[in-house]
Symmetry: C2
Subunit: 223 residues, 2 copies
DNA sequence: TGTACATCAGTGAACGCGCGTTCACTGATGTAC
DNA sequence: TGTACATCAGTGAACGCGCGTTCACTGATGTAC
């Protein structure tokens, strides 16, 4: 494809301006991975399909990623970053009430799983990723830190922070995975859009409140 | 099976008494599947490996199971039955206090995941199973019913049963999967056996209590 | 008790597939002079 | 401005693998008579 002046100048930087070199194959492969994961989840992902989707021979990715796990890890790093951003964005709209902030995070967590099920599952498929990847580990730590910090703001006794963070994380995470697995498909009462489990989400997030109230009663005698 | 008197009478029914017909290949394949799943989880399971392990050509399973999903579904049915039995056994030792019974179920749920991680994961890998399998569906329903019934015994308002069952299931299930994924590996305080997350398990199960207490306060004004 | 025969439950070879990875190669780029 | 050359980033063919499934087959079983 010489004389590529009929192509948009640089709106699509991955469109192979010269017909041989790609321009930004690394980014194009990550984008292809994103599309494949979004469409069919982690289980059916293959390196060759990603290369195909990026319009490139299947040997090309080796110049940009060590192996399949390398490409998936690079993509998953961006997923964790999106995940963190989603939680922080929700939290930002929630005002200053600490429990409302926690609910906002939970809503974002579950919403992310629903909106991007393949990406969500990939975040927890350690076997497909390169766990030595420092960028990936850092991005994951950032994600999980959001919830930990928010729980810490709600609990006065430092010894109680970890158990409560684990409880909250477990509940929200378990709910998200069970929703993705279709275990609550007709769980909403009449009047809500069918198939939606948003009602259950709200019940769950509000239902956790007594746990934190009881913490404050236990430690808050002085405050 | 002629003249098989040099074999142990029936202690190992899958030992091929005649060298050609197996005796009980169906059961032997399920046992082989159990071993493979226990050792390496669902991801690496193959039909051929199961046949190999049962000491039989890889075409033989076709006489007993429609396909790979059929064999896995038959095995998973037994897993659900074990899972149900484990929860009921724990519950039976818990006396009559409704919340202690719920804790016992949670302990059994998490304990099962820890003791048989591959089998636990398989129960939730719908993509590998034949979801039209009536026996499998029935066994799964029985498992999930144990928790639902026990929550129902704790909650007076019938409209509250589902949200509370979902909360409990989500928390326990999320914790179990996060534990299996190694997210709480050094979570226990000094003094407990390192690597154990049993302490967190107890914190989590006890931590849920205020949720049910608050339900009773809401509805129990008359009682 | 003996024999013919249908049925069952194995075998082993083959099919077709797609995978990840490696390798020698070559076209394109950009830098040194 | 031109040219030599190292480097980069692709190609396409091949390797070796194991998979699930199908198929014609055959050894063993058990039943009818």
């Amino acid at each position: 494809m010489p004389a590529s002046d009929d192509l948009p100048p640089s709106s699509e930087p991955s469109l192979r301006p010269d017909g041989y070199h790609h321009g930004d194959l690394r980014a194009a492969l990550i984008a292809a991975t994103a599309a494949l994961i979004e469409e069919a989840g982690p289980d059916t992902f293959t390196l060759r399909a990603a290369a195909r989707r990026a319009g490139v021979s299947h040997a090309a990715p080796a110049h940009h990623f060590r192996d399949r796990a390398g490409l998936l890890s690079a993509y998953t790093t961006t997923v964790f970053d999106d995940f963190t951003a989603a939680m922080e964005a929700h939290m930002a709209t929630a005002g200053t009430d600490a429990y409302l902030r926690l609910k906002a995070i939970g809503r974002a967590y579950i919403g992310f799983a629903r909106a991007r099920p393949g990406a969500f599952r990939l975040m927890f498929r350690a076997g497909m990723l390169d766990m030595e990847d420092a960028l990936l580990k850092a991005a994951a730590d950032r994600s999980f830190g959001v919830l930990a910090v928010t729980v810490a703001a709600l609990v006065h006794d430092p010894l109680r922070v970890q158990p409560l963070a684990v409880m909250t994380w477990s509940m929200v995470h378990g709910f998200a995975t069970l929703v993705l697995d279709g275990h609550f498909s007709q769980a909403c009462p009449a009047g809500m859009e069918p198939g939606s489990d948003e009602w259950l989400t709200e019940e769950l997030l509000e239902g956790l409140r007594p746990v934190f109230l009881s913490e404050q009663q236990k430690s808050g005698a002085g405050t």
